[in-house]
Subunit: 128 residues, 2 copies
DNA sequence: GTACATCTTCGAGCGCGCTCCAAGTCAAGA
DNA sequence: TCTTGACTTGGAGCGCGCTCGAAGATGTAC
C-alpha cells in the first residue's frame, strides 16, 4: 500500500486524521496499522470504497452501531463466498482447457494434424 | 452481459465480426455464444481485457499458437488460485469479526458495558 | 398507414480507485 | 553551508471497463 493510497484513504474518510510528529509528518500507531490492514484486506476482496466508508463512519459512532456493522460484514462475507465459487469454477474450466491444449500440442509434435474423433474445439466450454 | 458490452467487445477485437441477418442485425452462432461465455468467465475472474485481447488474437492464428495460449491460461489459473486464497483468508477473518460483533451486541443487551477481560478491539485483525 | 420496439453506428461520458505532479517545509549528513 | 531526501498540501490526471446517447434503418402489431 503506497503513501499515495494512504493519503487518499485519509482524504475520503477511511482513516481518521492520524497522529503527527513535531515536524508534521504522520505517525501511524499500531491501532492505525491494524485498521489499515483490515481496510487492505477488505479492498483486496473487492469491497467497494463506498461500503468501507459507511463502515468506517459507523465505527466512529461506537458500539451502538454494532448491528449495522455486522450486517455489512455478513453481506461482504456472502459476496466473498460467491466470488470463491466463481473462481473455483473458472479454475476447473481452465484445468480442462489447459489439458486440451496439451493434447493439441501433442498432436502437433507427432505431426498428426487431424483427429479421427470429431474436432475438439478448444474454446468450447464444457456445459458443466 | 448487455448488448452494449457485446458491441464493445467486438470493437476491441475480443469478438470477431459476427454473422448478420438480411437486415444487418447480428446473429450469434452457438460457437459465438460459447466463446462469449468463455470471455465472460475470464472477465468474471478478473482477467484484464488486454490479456483477453492477446488470447483472442492468438486464437485467430490457429493451433500453432497453442503453447502461448496455454501459458496465458496457466498464468491466469495461478492468479485465480491466489485470489481464492486471499478470499478464503478474508472469509475466515470476517467469521471471527462477526462473532465478535455478536458478543458486543450480547453485552449491550444484558446491559454490561464493561468486560473484566481486556477490551476486545473489534477492528484488530488476528495476526493469523 | 402508423406507431412502437429493436436493432444499427459512432463517439462521448462516467465511476472507480488510485496515481501523480508541483511547490513548499523540514532534518540529517558531507 | 549546501545538498539530499522524505515528507507536506491541493488538485489534476489516468487507466480500466464499461455505459450511454443520438440519429437513423428496419420489422411487427394494430
Amino acid at each position: 500500500m503506497t503513501a499515495h493510497t494512504l493519503r487518499y484513504y485519509e482524504r475520503v474518510g477511511l482513516i481518521q486524521p492520524v497522529g503527527r510528529a513535531h515536524n508534521g509528518h504522520r505517525r501511524y500507531s499500531e491501532a492505525d496499522e491494524a485498521w489499515i490492514q483490515f481496510l487492505h484486506c477488505m479492498r483486496a476482496t473487492n469491497m467497494p470504497i463506498r461500503e468501507m466508508q459507511r463502515y468506517a463512519e459507523l465505527r466512529e459512532l461506537g458500539d451502538a452501531t454494532s448491528l449495522e456493522r455486522r450486517k455489512i460484514l455478513e453481506d461482504h462475507q456472502a459476496e466473498i463466498a460467491a466470488q470463491i465459487v466463481a473462481l473455483q469454477q473458472a479454475h476447473a474450466l481452465l484445468t480442462h482447457k489447459i489439458a486440451n491444449y496439451r493434447k493439441i500440442e501433442q498432436r502437433i509434435r507427432i505431426n498428426s494434424p487431424a483427429l479421427s474423433e470429431p474436432e475438439v474445439d478448444c474454446e468450447l466450454a464444457p456445459s458443466a
